[in-house]
Symmetry: C2
Subunit: 221 residues, 2 copies
């Protein structure tokens, strides 16, 4: 176990990688890539001394990650009180079949962000955060949908998390079997790629006559 040297992404012990530090990426662009390629993160908070991990959407503007939720959501309310949070985004890229059970693995990209969420109160930043959230989930959609009204904005909590303390880990390539196993032709080994794909758009059943056809920003995705 070797500690990772201080880098632009890893300035604290918890964001420095312990095991398999060779999988660590230290370029801020790698963090952006992993975050921008995903649509769901896992938000961790501590409630009554126990961890709670929930999936939720997010959006990024420069070095700020935005989360949102109903003002009625207890986890969001808790995260808004200045307690530490952890946001993790993971992409599974492949199943790694090894010759030995011990070396089965996954190819993946993951980003782990530590910090303290800030409740966004400025109206313009709230809109900017929601814009980033919608555009991350459904690129091109913000301009093609009704904008939020005062009541909807009042019902929405927007949180901001600085991308100051983060780590990125990536595994690629074939299995890392032991030499003795590689020399033995008994077992097949390789990688089965895993991809996330979009299917064909399903228009809402209650679209009324005169509604535009499925727009390009949906069909081209």
């Amino acid at each position: 176990m070797s500690a990772q040297p201080t880098t632009p992404l890893s300035s604290t012990p918890r964001s420095s990688l312990g095991r398999l530090a060779e999988r660590g990426r230290t370029d801020r662009a790698d963090l952006y890539d992993v975050l921008d390629a995903g649509i769901v993160c896992h938000l961790g908070i501590v409630l009554d001394g126990a961890p709670v991990v929930l999936p939720t959407g997010y959006g990024r503007v420069d070095d700020t990650l935005y989360l949102h939720g109903s003002t009625g959501a207890s986890t969001l309310r808790a995260a808004a009180t200045g307690m530490p949070v952890c946001v993790t985004v993971t992409h599974v890229d492949g199943v790694v079949y090894a010759r030995s059970v011990f070396h089965f693995s996954m190819n993946y990209r993951s980003a782990v962000v530590h910090g303290t969420a800030r409740l966004v109160t400025d109206d313009q930043e709230r809109l900017d955060g929601l814009h980033a959230l919608v555009e991350n989930l459904a690129p091109g959609s913000w301009a093609h949908a009704r904008q939020p009204n005062r009541k909807e904005l009042a019902a929405t909590t927007v949180l901001a998390l600085d991308l100051a303390e983060a780590s990125v880990k990536v595994r690629t390539g074939p299995p890392g079997d032991d030499d003795a196993d590689i020399a033995d032709p008994a077992y097949w080994a390789g990688v089965l790629p895993v991809r996330t794909v979009f299917g064909e758009a399903e228009p809402a059943p209650d679209l009324i006559p005169g509604t535009p056809a499925t727009p390009d920003h949906v069909t081209a995705r």
Copy 2:
């Protein structure tokens, strides 16, 4: 916000759904379905008072979830000391395009398990747990790979988590726009399905002559 009645899956306040309780599933079979359909979970633990959320593999045997990792992994070591953990598995099934920004959403299935991980020390249960982990990641593979030796087993931490306290949440179907928006043909609405698919197997570049061809349990996946 209405509390969910006690059910086979939700026996505590934290595993009872608050908001959008209509998305909750209370059948144990739904929990199994969500868990068995995934290959990566997000494990949450509390370290120095802050949440840490990391992606990792898992396997299920009846009502026990198994996790594993290197004996050198600090998070696994911490989780093995009897502290509370949270394990969440999420599948994104679709992007929900609404007429209004406010109603954009995701179709998804998620399972959240709360509990205290138990360090597995019994040799047979350790093997059973690793078997479940490998078979969940790569079905059919355990019998097609070299079994773990004493040294590999000694380097592996296996944790067990009872599926006693869990919640399952599922969203399906079209957007839930307001009536006034549905009556307005200005904006398209619908669902873009999201699927996880396997690509074509990539044999390891260092397979030696005489190695079997890519086996059926890989190609048929």
